[in-house]
Subunit: 296 residues, 2 copies
């Protein structure tokens, strides 16, 4: 995959290399992955096969539209509920791109996720990018929030590794996980949601650092407060602040269109380990504090 | 509760105050909570009723022993598996403290957690501190890791609010959640576990900031690598590093006893919002970066 993105890179057997080098020495393989990022450009998405989980959602739909301004090869939208009129609208936006829809609930068991992905891989042969965007915001629903926002994202990511992991002969791939600014610092009134997004941010930063083993790079896009139906009205934990939505919306927010534009820019930057902060036209790669180091 | 800990504090109806003051002005109530922390001392735990979820675990057991060097009133240990010989041992350590055991699996539905807590509150009348310590470390078990480490902790916390929330006439309380240094920066080889701990850290920091509404203060204790049976051997995600346990243990680690000593010191400091880093005798309150602010 790296070769495809960036031109030739030296052939390395990552698994063997791991046997001969101490963990810190493996950093040189990180450098190869870093060089693979060089190709980020406005033509980056050209001819790519992209799976977009929740690509019909509020941020999802406008991001799908933004993606369709580029000449992808395939955009496979997985979402819980089919909205045929929206899929039709997307299909008409760019006739060069094949848009397909398949129903998918991220809370299904891992085996189900793998089955669905197998169907997609059988059809497309290769997939370049997986966008994990399923999310709910309702702190009355503890189990559902965590199951969708974190467990579902982990399962979908784990499922695609069967097809991408270079240790299994796969070609590698790119994972774009939708986190949230609340994963950096919470909206305290929705601690369950915010915690689930912190999990996504932390999980994805690990994936990025495992890229030398798996061949799969990863980053998060973390939108600020975006004017979606999700945010228009939502429950706070134990109703600690019944007006949380209204209070949030009193401050500057971004539209889903603004968010989508930054989102696709982040995808085009294709930075392994990127912690993208997206708010009101800002697209910034957050630097995370190092509080400790496991040294392995 | 604050009065009990610190001597008289002005009587405030927090709910009414919330109606009259803008969110930022409510900071003055935070100050009251901050003053409530003044009582932190070696006699802090004297005469307290403490519930300890997973108080028979590896870190849990030594922490229970350390707690029993203080003259608590009650130590109620909730754990998945009864280990009568350990409970007997604990009971003998300090005859002034009533040690009881009740079976509890944190993955039960919220209603079950509330039922169990009702039994405890009916018996003890008041509970001062809840320690949430249930955790598993096995990145082959995605659902279980998240259900125990995050969902279970959120549910137990949510359940106790029925008895503590000052909006319901409760006396307030103190929540001590066991996070992990991996919640700050991951052990990349166990991304699922690390993510679940990031969720705990983020969730708890919200609880702390909600204390002016709920009367319940909160902090995390975040142990570094501790020589427990959990760490002796564990599965990495997709076996990205089969020797992850051995590699970790090549570096300086702490014993469960060292960890327990710092743990109880942190409890005695009783700092709302504390992000305690516990490693090899170090006990440090981590300062978290502010990347954004919801302004509410």
């Amino acid at each position: 995959m790296f070769a495809k993105l960036c031109g030739p890179v030296p052939l390395i057997n990552f698994r063997t290399a791991k046997c001969f080098y101490k963990p810190r020495q493996l950093n040189k393989f990180y450098n190869i992955i870093a060089r693979a990022n060089c190709s980020a450009s406005s033509s980056f998405l050209c001819d790519k096969n992209v799976i977009f989980v929740a690509g019909l959602g509020d941020i999802g739909l406008d991001t799908s539209k933004e993606l369709l301004k580029r000449d992808l090869k395939n955009l496979v939208i997985l979402d819980r509920v089919d909205k045929p009129e929206l899929v039709c609208e997307l299909k008409e936006l760019n006739p060069k791109v094949k848009v397909t829809f398949m129903p998918y609930d991220v809370t299904v068991p891992l085996a189900e996720s793998k089955k669905l992905l197998k169907k997609i891989f059988d059809k497309l042969k290769c997939v370049d990018i997986l966008i994990n965007g399923a999310g709910i915001l309702d702190d009355h629903k503890i189990e559902a929030t965590i199951a969708v926002n974190y467990t579902g994202l982990v399962n979908t990511t784990t499922a695609i590794m069967d097809f991408w992991d270079i240790r299994k002969g796969g070609p590698g791939g790119i994972i774009c996980n939708i986190g949230s600014v609340t994963g950096f610092n919470p909206i305290t009134q929705v601690p369950v949601y915010s915690g689930s997004k912190a999990a996504v941010v932390n999980f994805t930063s690990s994936l990025a650092k495992l890229a030398h083993i798996t061949g799969v790079t990863a980053y998060t896009v973390n939108p600020g407060i975006t004017r979606t139906s999700l945010v228009a009205k939502f429950n706070s934990w134990l109703d600690v602040e019944p007006d949380v939505a209204e209070l949030l919306l009193e401050h500057p927010t971004q539209s889903t269109k603004e968010c989508a534009a930054s989102f696709v820019k982040a995808i085009e930057k294709n930075k392994n380990g990127g912690l993208w902060f997206l708010d009101q036209g800002i697209l910034e790669d957050i630097k995370w504090d190092k509080h400790w180091d496991p040294c392995i």
